[in-house]
């Protein structure tokens, strides 16, 4: 009889996924017959009669063990890639992480170069997705000043992947004399930064999210100045809206004042 596929279902967090990696690895069930599935909370569809399902409870210790082992036995870079994948909004990410680690144990640090292997390709793609989107947000995040004492800069974003932790350090470094908040409306979390204490990220209560979203209005005088500049600097003889859209996809624009009415 054909061996049943065994599916480890876990929470869609780094902790959840790496706990599943740990359990799956320890099971010795055989890599070819193991699948991992990261699922948002309360999500229990996708069952298949011919598979066996195991629910995994996130366990901090197991996560740390996996990270440590990967760093020691494979490389630091692989460790970072795995973390990156876990923040990516891709359904197969848990499975990819698991099998990538398996390849890594077999090949060592050079696994990162082996783009011939589909699992490695997927890791590469997911890392690129995160890097690209994070880069977009380094470009296109807009702050407005909330009239408080001291003034606080606020930005609202709605990313596809969970990129907040990949942009926080960038802004903390360049805006180090400022108080600022970047609110991720899609994942309901925010970065808080103050000049003296640095930054942290935390999940927001729904009410907090609503409050922050309501403050986004771009009514400042500098918005008008910025729009003036934005319009004036374009060369009318060379208008090219397609090119503009290629570089700056429409979905970013709802939080960019230069594209407001």
């Amino acid at each position: 009889m054909k061996k049943k596929i065994r599916v480890y279902q876990c929470q869609d967090t780094l902790e959840g996924i790496l706990t599943a990696v740990y359990d799956a690895g320890k099971s010795r069930y055989g890599h070819d017959h193991i699948r991992l599935q990261a699922q948002p909370e309360g999500y229990h569809e996708n069952f298949n009669l011919f598979s066996e399902y195991i629910q995994v409870e996130p366990d901090r210790e197991k996560m740390e063990k996996v990270l440590r082992t990967v760093e020691e036995k494979i490389s630091r870079q692989v460790c970072q890639q795995i973390i990156c994948c876990a923040f990516c909004a891709q359904e197969d990410k848990a499975d990819v992480i698991y099998h990538y680690i398996v390849c890594g144990f077999a090949m060592g640090a050079k696994v990162v170069k082996a783009l011939q292997i589909p699992w490695v390709q997927r890791v590469f793609e997911m890392n690129r997705m995160i890097t690209n989107e994070a880069h977009y947000y380094r470009e296109f995040i807009r702050f407005q000043e909330l009239p408080q004492d001291p003034p606080v800069l606020l930005s609202v974003i709605e990313p596809k992947n969970r990129i907040l932790s990949f942009v926080a350090q960038h802004f903390a470094d360049r805006l180090n004399p400022e108080w600022f908040i970047i609110y991720d409306k899609a994942y309901q979390e925010a970065v808080f930064h103050s000049p003296a204490e640095g930054w942290y990220i935390r999940r927001l209560e729904p009410e907090e999210g609503r409050q922050l979203a309501a403050m986004e209005d771009y009514q400042e005088e500098y918005v008008d100045l910025w729009k003036t500049f934005f319009e004036a600097v374009s060369i009318p003889e060379r208008e090219n809206r397609d090119l503009q859209r290629n570089h700056l996809p429409l979905h970013f624009r709802s939080h960019m004042p230069e594209f407001g009415n």
Binding site: K113, E139, N176, V233, E237, R238, L243
Partner: protein, 504 residues
Amino acid sequence: MIFEEHASLQRKLQILSDAAKYDVACTSSGVSRPGRKGELGNTEASGICHSFSGDGRCISLLKILFTNECIYNCKYCINRVTNDLPRATFTPEEICELTMEFYRRNYIEGLFLSSGIIQSPDYTMELIGKTLHDLRTIHRFNGYIHCKAIPGASPELVEMVGWYADRMSVNLELPTTQGLKNLAPNKSRKSILTPMRQIQSGMEESRKLLGMKGGNRSAYWHTSKRLGRILPGTEALSGSTPASLEQREQKKDMVSEKKEEEELQLPGKAQAGGLTQWNRRDTSRGFVPAGQSTQMIIGASGETDYEIMAVSEALYQRFDLKRVFYSGFINVNQDASLQALEGKPAKLREHRLYQADWLLRYYGFAAEELLSKKRPNFNVFLDPKCDWALGHMEQFPVEINRADYNMLLRVPGIGVKSAQRICAARQTGPLDFPHLKKMGVVLKRAIYFITCNGRLMYDFLKMDEDYITRSILGEDQAVLKNFGQQDIQYRQLSLFDDWKRAEG
């Protein structure tokens, strides 16, 4: 009162960014400087765009003129003295405020300050210098600053600005001396090259004394180093040009190479040790650490692509420039004596020049490989690399699993990143066609020029110049469409080979 004031700031901004819009060098790259406690801003080596204007160009810096008043009368320029248009001049304070407030909101990566010439070059340069000084020392701005050196300004002022700016540029304006004489009668080749050389020497000195912090090398320099080439520019700086190099250059029998030498030669040697303000300035950023760039106007004075590329190459070699920018001429003054190639064709030509420039800086091509006196213009329907490859079919196909890095770079459809990935991946096992796509290779372009494990991707592919040209152009209709060329069939290719004829 307050409203009055702001209304006027808005109006000035409108006039002075409108006047700066034709400048093409709006990048914020070339230096990576981390944030500093209590200062606003940092810089990234690759630069960051913050928006894209309606013409599709990147907005990275607050690109403005200090003033659009000007005592000169350059024919191609909207701000020339004889034009009747609204004029405005910022105060240093206003520029500082705009820069700081825009930067905090992540609108911009920094400031790009250019200017018309008000009263005299020195007077103008001094105002610019004051602005930069205030921005760095009073407002503690640590972001990116690109600033023009005004031809004819005194070396002290140029140096002062260089200590505050990240990048400086002096516009070459026109590719040839004759063009400059005709169109910018108040400027001379010498007044343009002198500050360029001064900045080059200053950077060299700053690098020597400050190391990495003194500034990065240009892509052209790195590529030349990888290929083991000697750059005349750096030799000249150390005070001696090796005889062999001189001989080699004399041997070159190219007319335009000679011309270019005359054109870009400065009387006298560049002086290292020319920086005089080490004690008076904050030297922690280095001197012009992001290097210098220049731009020239294309299509106003009838140069061929070959002349233009030869000038660019000479600038990279002799003046250690980071970038040369090409600005397709727009006849803003409707001047009848300037024949402008307008619209889509001008854009396409500019695009080809940028691609070729890229080939010089990153791919190790020499200008004379891409063009010659006999064939002085790019084929606008093919990118220059593809065009080159088609003329050198004897070097293809290239075996992906064995070809060295430099050869991979010459394959159409393979870029710097994909070439690096190929070299890395083949160490872990042999590569085949499906793998290449994942590495960023543009297969539909590359398949004509490569084999994997001795095989072409499809048996029916022919290693034949005409066949490949036709296939590639057939596929490229979509690309051409972007440039408004959709109705031109490949069969017309030969007609359009030469830009001169296409223009007529």
